[in-house]
Symmetry: C2
Subunit: 201 residues, 2 copies
């Protein structure tokens, strides 16, 4: 997608992507319609297609922008830091992402769930590379006896599964907990405790 030049282009492009995120994350790629997105964005349908060549292009623009946001917290895990603090920091950042960007989490979940037809290279490339890289660090920490010995990739999967669950299955979590609860606040404390215990040597 080419970068918009004027301020009004910038503003409309943003409004469209915001609306597209709202609709794609709630209904999936096929379930979303341009009519819905246009409605949410407050623009006409042809006007949407003036800014983006196709529905596909809107979705692609969102995914591209999403992947970095999604991987950044793991990138920040520092080989030179204190192992438990680094991992718990990663967990905390992922909980915050789920709390602050649940739609992004659901967009991502929708895509993987359906076999990642529009993200396959990113998953097999950037994402796998980053996990491999961080697995080396985790393994070294384990060998040094600073955290418990666990399969590193599965440890990372655990962090993804547990933190993203609160965004992706939000409806179910709230239905089960009832209205008095703050799922993300509780998740933050619970997962901190869980991983502290899991990582203890």
């Amino acid at each position: 997608m080419s970068r918009p030049r004027t301020r009004i282009q910038q503003k409309n492009s943003e409004a469209i992507l915001e609306a597209a995120l709202e609709v794609f994350s709630a209904y999936g790629f096929r379930g979303a319609t341009l009519d819905q997105i246009a409605e949410v964005a407050g623009l006409s349908k042809p006007n949407l297609l003036y800014y983006f060549p196709s529905k596909e292009a809107m979705h692609q623009a969102l995914l591209t922008r999403l992947l970095d946001t999604w991987l950044d917290p793991l990138r920040e895990m520092d080989a030179e830091g204190e192992p438990v603090a680094e991992i718990l920091g990663y967990v905390r950042r992922k909980v915050e992402l789920s709390r602050d960007f649940p739609r992004e989490s659901r967009l991502f979940a929708n895509e993987i769930l359906q076999g990642a037809p529009r993200m396959r290279e990113a998953i097999e490339g950037d994402l796998k590379r980053l996990v491999d890289e961080k697995s080396v660090i985790l393994t070294r920490w384990m060998e040094e006896g600073r955290i418990a010995r666990l399969p590193p990739a599965h440890l990372i999967f655990s962090i993804w599964a547990l933190t993203q669950h609160y965004a992706d299955f939000d409806m179910q979590v709230r239905a089960v907990l009832g209205p008095e609860h703050d799922p993300f606040a509780e998740a933050g404390d619970y997962l901190d405790m869980l991983f502290r215990k899991l990582l203890a040597v």
Copy 2:
């Protein structure tokens, strides 16, 4: 959905639901088309609609059948059994469900992800009731000092999140692990160890 009378009706209904599961779980409700389902089922499109009044009805039939399968493993957790064994048994059964019925898991995930438009009452009714009931048992075990003190609903969420992740995000898990690995075998061992450690007093 009315129960089929003849053997041929039984057989075709089954073939349609099997095909519908294949397609709905892979593409979501809206993304799935009757053409695809008819193709997979080996029947004509109008013939599908002879057995089910609408696309919606096929989806509903799958969801209704699914919920019991999905909740049974939790139902089996026995208040009179040994706490750690009961919980680990539940985890093991959920891993087996993910391994043996990944399409059902993805169908369910798709539905919750989109706010459960066709399952809301079941989530707020049967599912919540069962979790509440089992939470009482878990809490008693905690008060008796037989397992670690944890928020019971979040403990159950952990089991759901971790086990279903291997079915729902299968594509990502396999991409990261590489072709040499058996995700579900590893998940079984890893999660057994994880919950053993988490529940230890």
